[in-house]
């Protein structure tokens, strides 16, 4: 069974061969798979050297108070009620934005599928065109959409929903199109040859194989939507995020933790619930009764999806989400007057520094996010309580919006690139950590066990027995995450001096619309470039053995 890794054929030794197949020491430096996983964590070394110079003594006691308050959250009924109301709003916004993004994404995904166009209409260039166009809404982070819409239509409940739906819809569309076009078209061709009309043939041949991937990805998007809704709240779009930010700024840590633990409970329930659904619906039962089970699960899935429709409308009504609000545009401050477009003002921006700052922030944060989890697991391997602590810290990190981490860090650190990178990196380390833990739980522990039985310590047994198999898939996901991080840098822009993100927020608050437009455009271009690069890196990681 371990032979399944052998897929990578004997050609796998290609990269090493030029150095000579001999046994001499001339084989050069060739970091093996488990070491690759640890390489990104090397970024910690320079970071730890620089960090002491970033510390200003100020708020160390405040950080201590914050940490201690985790154990004694406020149980005041008023505080709890306010937190629960905020949480309900956040969850509602997340649900609505997610549902809208699914509908949007499936429709657009179908519209940008080459297979679909080829079979239904003939030409495939419209699919390519839609695909290209969809890259633009995808390249702009939901926070930017939210802030832009906020200026345009004012503080309406619908803003957060649409802000989530636009980029998420474009992301879902890409996944749907990729899934569709990646499917084997043999069955489809067979049905078409047998004379079935295009729509029926497409639905029959491509629907069932598409569903598992879509469900799994859709569930994951719901988790993302909850995180995004919280984040949007931090920037004033309502819900729990707003409460969290206010209590943090007024240093009411006990009340802060009340909201945080509630959010924690909801997020954990969502993650475990979705995990169980995934297992129930997607994994073939080992001792199942074959087709009867499949039919039953199919009915369950349809019922669950059908139940979502009235739920979504109910939530929308309760939150007062009114799509008509989108049509009532406000006049933008400063846009009416003459000279809103000022070439000199545009050129005055330090573009190279802005772009370099953004790229540096992305790389630093990505290295932290990818490098920390394997290192943390390795260090904590011998002590089960420490392992649990690490997992708890991941759960809190992915729950806690990065701008709030940034605000907390500002209590002890200088504003700047490193603080921003820490905030962003720690948040994403929480996401990658969970992924790593899941990959380890799914894998076989036989090799680790074999090493332990030969007297190897728990850390080295983990490094040699577990990491080799997960190294490449994990790093490939890390490459994808780096691309997400580039988009997310705007989120920690308020820490200052961190490239395009902070300049964007600054231009926005000073109503410099020309700068804003130019910044968004450059940001989007950079994101598209990053997407291309990370895509290539990912493919290389997955192909090479």
């Amino acid at each position: 069974m371990s032979r399944s890794f052998g897929r990578q054929t004997p050609a796998a030794d290609g990269p090493g061969k030029p150095f000579g197949g001999n046994t001499g020491p001339a084989s050069g430096l060739r970091p093996a798979a488990p070491l690759l996983v640890l390489l990104p964590s090397l970024v910690l070394l320079p970071l730890l050297v620089v960090l002491p110079f970033q510390v200003h003594g100020g708020g160390l006691d405040l950080i201590g108070q914050f940490a201690l308050a985790a154990l004694t959250p406020s149980l005041d009924p008023l505080v709890l009620r306010s937190a629960l109301t905020g949480l309900a709003t956040t969850v509602g916004m997340a649900l609505l934005g997610w549902a809208a993004s699914l509908v949007l994404g499936v429709l657009l995904g179908l519209a940008s599928s080459r297979t679909l166009w080829r079979n239904a209409l003939g030409p495939i260039w419209p699919a390519e065109l839609i695909r290209r166009l969809l890259a633009i809404p995808r390249a702009i982070h939901e926070l930017l959409w939210g802030l832009l819409l906020l200026q345009l239509v004012g503080l309406e409940p619908v803003v957060a929903v649409v802000a989530i739906a636009i980029p998420f819809g474009a992301l879902v569309a890409r996944v749907v199109a990729d899934l569709l076009d990646g499917l084997d078209t043999g069955r489809l061709d067979a049905l078409r040859l047998a004379g079935a009309p295009a729509p029926a043939a497409l639905l029959t041949a491509l629907g069932p194989p598409l569903l598992p991937g879509l469900l799994s990805y859709g569930g994951y998007r719901l988790e993302c939507a909850l995180r995004s809704a919280t984040l949007l709240g931090v920037f004033g779009l309502g819900g729990l995020g707003t409460d969290l930010k206010l209590t943090l700024q007024s240093l009411e840590f006990h009340e802060l933790w009340s909201g945080l633990w509630l959010l924690f409970a909801v997020m954990l329930a969502l993650e475990t619930g979705l995990g169980q659904l995934r297992r129930r619906w997607l994994m073939p039962p080992r001792l199942g009764l074959g087709r009867a089970g499949v039919g039953l699960r199919g009915r369950e899935i349809v019922l669950a999806l059908a139940a979502l429709v009235p739920l979504t409308f109910g939530v929308g009504w309760a939150l007062g989400v009114d799509p008509r609000a989108l049509l009532a545009w406000q006049s933008l401050q400063g846009l009416g007057g003459r000279g809103w477009l000022d070439g000199a003002r545009l050129m005055a921006l330090p573009w190279p520094a802005l772009i370099a700052g953004t790229v540096a922030l992305t790389l630093l944060a990505a290295a932290l996010a990818v490098g920390l989890p394997p290192l943390q697991l390795l260090v904590s391997a011998p002590w089960p309580p420490a392992r649990r602590l690490v997992r708890l810290s991941w759960a809190l990190a992915r729950l806690w919006p990065p701008p709030l981490t940034a605000l907390l860090l500002l209590l002890v650190l200088q504003p700047g690139l490193i603080t921003a990178a820490l905030a962003l990196g720690l948040h994403n380390a929480g996401i990658l950590g969970r992924l790593l833990a899941e990959a380890l739980a799914d894998g076989s522990g036989a090799k680790e066990q074999a090493l332990v039985s030969a007297g190897v310590g728990p850390r080295l047994a983990l490094l040699y027995g577990r990491y080799p198999a997960i190294a490449r898939p994990y790093l490939a996901y890390g490459a994808y995450r780096a691309d997400v991080l580039l988009r997310e840098t705007v989120v920690v822009g308020l820490v200052g001096a961190t490239g395009l993100g902070s300049q964007l927020l600054e231009s926005l608050s000073s109503f410099a619309w020309d700068q804003l437009l130019a910044l968004v455009a450059v940001y989007a271009l950079l994101t598209l470039l990053g997407e291309e690069l990370s895509d290539r890196l990912r493919r290389r990681l997955l192909q090479r053995a």
Binding site: A12, P31, A33, L35, A450, V452, S453, G457
Partner: protein, 271 residues
């Protein structure tokens, strides 16, 4: 010290699901230099006995002693005990993503420091020692640089044995290492293993089929978690021996018919 047996099991029992024990009251002593075959039909508890013997599975009751010592409570001493026990797994448990050289060095991990273990993932270490163990399993040193995933099935088996030799344990355990191999390959691998067993080493090897008993000093029969016989290898020859084997495999005829046949004159030990 010199008198202590390499492995001693005293009334070892392992509870199983539904009240059916996986091992029940097993007593076993293995002395330095002994080559012991563990026979039994599938499900007899051979793998369980081996995982108890290598310390992965603590018995529900009874004692396990390695060179007269009970499993140490201190982590460090315990690891030192474990390092003296080497296991050859049926699925080999080689690390496919690493080179042959790195896999062989993995046999030394228990003795190695952290930096060395990390360095092994970056540079070829201990090439002469690795080439030497490869030679003992009849493999060319050119293979050291190859990824394990690129090897043939037989080569993988040999690399697994070579890794065991790198570990240099005193107690060798092997869990059906010859299952699913063609007879010629099985015989040559067994010969390789047996040749490495000289005092103070000892070998306990489990077998499903009783046709490869030549070269062993002792044969142990396990059935339904109980020790059925513990015999000198020679005692299993002839009609009486075949009868004992038949009794051991009662109800599981597939293994027996293929290998023993019905004519006692054709029993393999005479080969």
């Amino acid at each position: 010290m010199a008198a202590a047996a390499l492995l001693e099991l005293r009334r070892v029992s392992v509870a199983g699901r539904g009240g059916v024990p996986r091992l029940e009251g097993v007593n076993l002593v293995i002395e330095p230099g002994e080559r012991v075959a563990l026979l039994g039909p599938s499900g007899a508890g051979k793998s369980t006995l081996l995982t108890v013997a290598n310390g992965l599975l603590p018995p529900s009751s009874g004692e396990v002693l390695w060179q007269g010592e009970a499993p140490a409570r201190s982590r460090r001493l315990r690891r030192r005990q474990q390092a003296r026990i080497g296991t050859l797994w049926q699925d080999l448990r080689l690390i496919d993503e690493l080179s042959v050289q790195q896999n062989l060095n993995a046999g030394r991990l228990a003795a190695w420091s952290w930096p060395r273990a990390l360095l092994n993932l970056l540079l070829p270490l201990d090439t002469p020692a690795n080439a030497a163990v490869l030679a003992r399993v009849d493999l060319a040193p050119e293979l050291l640089d190859q990824p394990v995933a690129a090897l043939s099935g037989g080569q993988r088996q040999r690399v697994a044995i070579a890794r065991l030799l790198r570990q240099d344990p005193t107690l060798l355990l092997a869990d059906e290492p010859l299952a699913s191999l063609d007879p010629r390959l099985a015989a040559s691998l067994l010969a390789l293993l047996l040749a490495e067993v000289t005092p103070p080493r000892a070998l306990l090897l489990s077998l499903h089929r009783p046709d490869l008993l030549a070269g062993f000093d002792r044969v142990i029969g396990l059935r339904s978690g109980r020790l059925v016989f513990d015999a000198v290898a020679g005692d299993l020859q002839g009609a009486a021996g075949v009868a004992r084997l038949k009794e051991l495999y009662r109800g599981d005829t597939s293994a027996l018919e293929e290998t023993i046949g019905t004519d006692p004159a054709q029993t393999p030990p005479g080969r």
